[in-house]
Each structure stands twice: as C-alpha cells, then as structure tokens.
C-alpha cells in the first residue's frame, strides 16, 4: 500500500527514521523525537504523502521499556487514500522528561488529542497553546492511564466552583470556546491561536 511513503521518509530523513515495519497494509515508522515536528510537517506538505488529516494522537505506556512512552499519531491522506502510523519514544523510567513538540501548528485536530495525552499520561507538548487537563479536573493528582497508577484508586471529591473560581475565562469553559473544536465553525482559522 503506502510502503512508498515509508521509503520516501527514509530517503528524506535518513537516520531520523529509527525503524519501520509494515504488516497487513499497515505502515509504521518510529522516528526520532527531535525530528517529530519536521517529519509531521513534511508528511502533510509533501505532494507524494499529502496527509491532510490527523486521525488520532495518543500515547502508550510500556513500563518495562526505556524510553517508557510511545506517542502515536495516525494519519490519513484524503486525496491519496493512504494511511500511516508514526511513533516516537519519550520519557525515562519515572515518566519524567516526556516532552514532544506540539503538532497543533500542523493539524489543528492535535490540540485536544495532545491535551488528552497530557491528561492521561503526563506527556508534555512543547509550545502547545493551551496544555490543560481535558477529561480530569485540575485538582486530580497523577496520570491515570500510566501503568503504575493503581487501578482502583479514587481521589477525593472536589467542591463545585464556577468558571471564574476555577480560573477559566468564559471562552475556555468546556465544551466550545471559539478556538476549541470544529473547523467548520465560523472561526477564522488562518489566525494564530490566542
């Protein structure tokens, strides 16, 4: 299928592509964390790749490995009809130092997905415009989808508070602020994030 894309990636980025494999039509490339952003930009802009859509961005915790986390993106090219999966490995055994460049400037869809990966795994995205917890509440301690988080540990209930008390401006209140959400809304998406 799109092994051509893997080949092209290896031609252009060479040693930055740590490993690749392709099985049953699914192509995966593990890349260096330092080249995460240029590779993503290349995959979107290159005429032969043309991955216009970020299907998903998430992370996986492998507690026995070092680096411990894999950040995974799934890309889809609407014009070419092919897909690819790109991974990078970050974080030491304690989960510290898990820092990746944000892809918000490449695909707007990365914004909430990166917030979820931050919320659940504690992965930091460098230069993310609004890196807050998205599913859990701000008082939550720890990162629940890490394998070392006890499966049955609940945390104390938090009191009710208004948006002002939580330190949120009104356009940051979930779910739909002006810049959070859907590209088909009447927003000017050419302007940089506030």
């Amino acid at each position: 299928m799109s092994s051509a894309v893997l080949k092209r990636l290896q031609e252009v980025f060479g040693a930055a592509i740590v490993e690749t494999h392709s099985q049953w039509g699914d192509d995966t490339a593990v890349v260096e964390t330092a080249r995460w952003l240029p590779i993503a930009t290349f995959l979107r802009d290159d005429a032969a790749c043309a991955f216009e859509m970020l299907s998903d961005l998430t992370a996986v915790d492998y507690p026995d490995r070092e680096p411990r986390f894999e950040v995974v993106i799934h890309l889809l090219s609407l014009s070419k009809g092919h897909r690819i999966r790109i991974k990078t490995r970050v974080g030491d055994a304690e989960g510290d130092g898990a820092i990746v460049d944000t892809l918000c400037g490449v695909w707007l869809a990365a914004n909430w997905a990166e917030r979820e990966a931050f919320d659940m795994f504690g992965i930091n995205f460098r230069a993310h415009p609004d890196l807050r917890r998205i599913l859990m509440y701000p008082e939550f301690v720890g990162f629940p989808l890490r394998k070392d988080y006890p499966a049955d540990r609940a945390q104390p209930l938090v009191p009710y508070r208004t948006a002002e008390e939580a330190g949120l401006t009104i356009d940051k209140v979930a779910p739909f602020g002006p810049l959070e959400g859907m590209s088909f809304a009447r927003n000017d998406w050419t302007k940089p994030e506030l």
Binding site: L135, M136, Y137, F140, P144, Y149, A151, D152, R153, A154, Q155, L157, V158, P159, Y160, R161
Partner: protein
C-alpha cells in the same frame, strides 16, 4: 398510619364531608404529581426513554412531566454513571431543587458505581446526596423502574423522608424473609427437585 377507613356512599341530595390529616392529603397529592428532573448521563437513558414511551408509560403514575430546571422539579432521576468530575454538579443540582424533593437512583451505576472501580467513577450517588430509592439493573427493566417508582410513591404517602438503605433480604431481628428469595427444597424420596417454596 393505616387507620381503618369507613366509606359511606352518598346519594340523592345528601351532603357530607370527610376528615383526614393534612399530611395525608399532601402526601396523596405529591405522590401523583412528581415533576422529574432527568439527570441522564449514560446508557440507562435509553431504558428511561422506553419507560417514558407508551408501552410502559410512567405518566400513568403522574410522573411524566419533565422540568429541565431543578428549581421547578421535585424528583431527581439520576440515570447513569456519575463521574468524579460531575459529582459537584449533581450536588449543586440537588441543592437547587425545591423542598420537598426526592432522589431516585436509576441503575447499578447510579446506585453503587456498578462495575466501575477506578479513578473516575463515584461509587454510588449516596456519596454525594441522599437517595430515596435504588433501582438495580444494568440497565433495569422498565417493570423494575415502575416498581421503584411505586415504592417511592408509597414512601411519599407515608411522609417518610429518611434516605434509603439497602436492607438484607433476611433480617434476623424481624425474622422476616423476603418472598423475593426463592428457596428450592430437596426431596428425600428421590423425586425430582421441588419448585420454589
């Protein structure tokens, strides 16, 4: 509570009056005019829709009028899983309701957290607010919900405002055994096992 009722039928141009207690009249009126606030968060909501639709039709019990403002409602249906993040909102909704108010826990998740034992789920709404009737089931059958609704109506008619506690089926103090438990008897003469006792 249950004083013997003497009923007399009046006919022709006879006139008469009846006496009762104010609380009994109020309880009778309240139990047939429940204004519900459906706090639907999960899949039990589907079962709630079937409950509200004509086949099961909880409007027969005077409980069909929904009010999507807690200030106008007196029965809070908590339908579905309550997450830790949502808990303060549910508490605030309850606090905004007018007295007298009742709470009905619809389904296992609202009653006890269900099979969720993790970082995100509240293990039962009674950790946050008092609950009058728990309806078990995942989701409960509409008949079970109607049974729970009738239990609540009985409770309202009694004027009982204590939060519900889950009672064991066999209460050693009362010597009471619920007939919901079906005990099978084993025959000693070799005939097939007996049915429910």
């Amino acid at each position: 509570m249950n004083a013997p009722v003497k009923s007399v039928t009046l006919d022709g141009n006879q006139t008469g009056f009846a006496t009762t207690r104010l609380e009994a009249v109020l309880g009778w009126a309240r139990k047939y005019s429940l204004f519900k606030y459906p706090f639907v968060t999960a899949c039990c909501g589907m079962e709630f829709m079937s409950l509200a639709s004509p086949r099961f039709d909880h409007s027969r019990f005077g409980a069909e009028a929904p009010r999507f403002s807690p200030r106008q409602s007196d029965l809070l249906w908590v339908i579905g899983t309550i997450s830790q993040r949502q808990a303060p909102v549910l508490k605030r909704i309850y606090e905004q309701m007018m007295e007298p108010k009742w709470v009905l826990g619809f389904g296992t998740c609202a009653s006890s957290g269900g099979f969720y034992d993790n970082y995100t789920t509240v293990p039962g709404i009674d950790k946050i607010i008092p609950c009058d009737v728990y309806i078990p089931g995942c989701p409960p059958r509409p008949e079970a919900v109607l049974d729970g609704l009738m239990l609540l109506q009985d409770k309202i008619a009694r004027g009982d405002r204590t939060p519900a506690i889950v009672k064991p089926r066999f209460d050693p103090v009362q010597g009471y055994q619920s007939d919901l438990v079906q005990l099978r008897t084993r025959r000693t003469d070799g005939s097939p096992e007996g049915g429910a006792k």
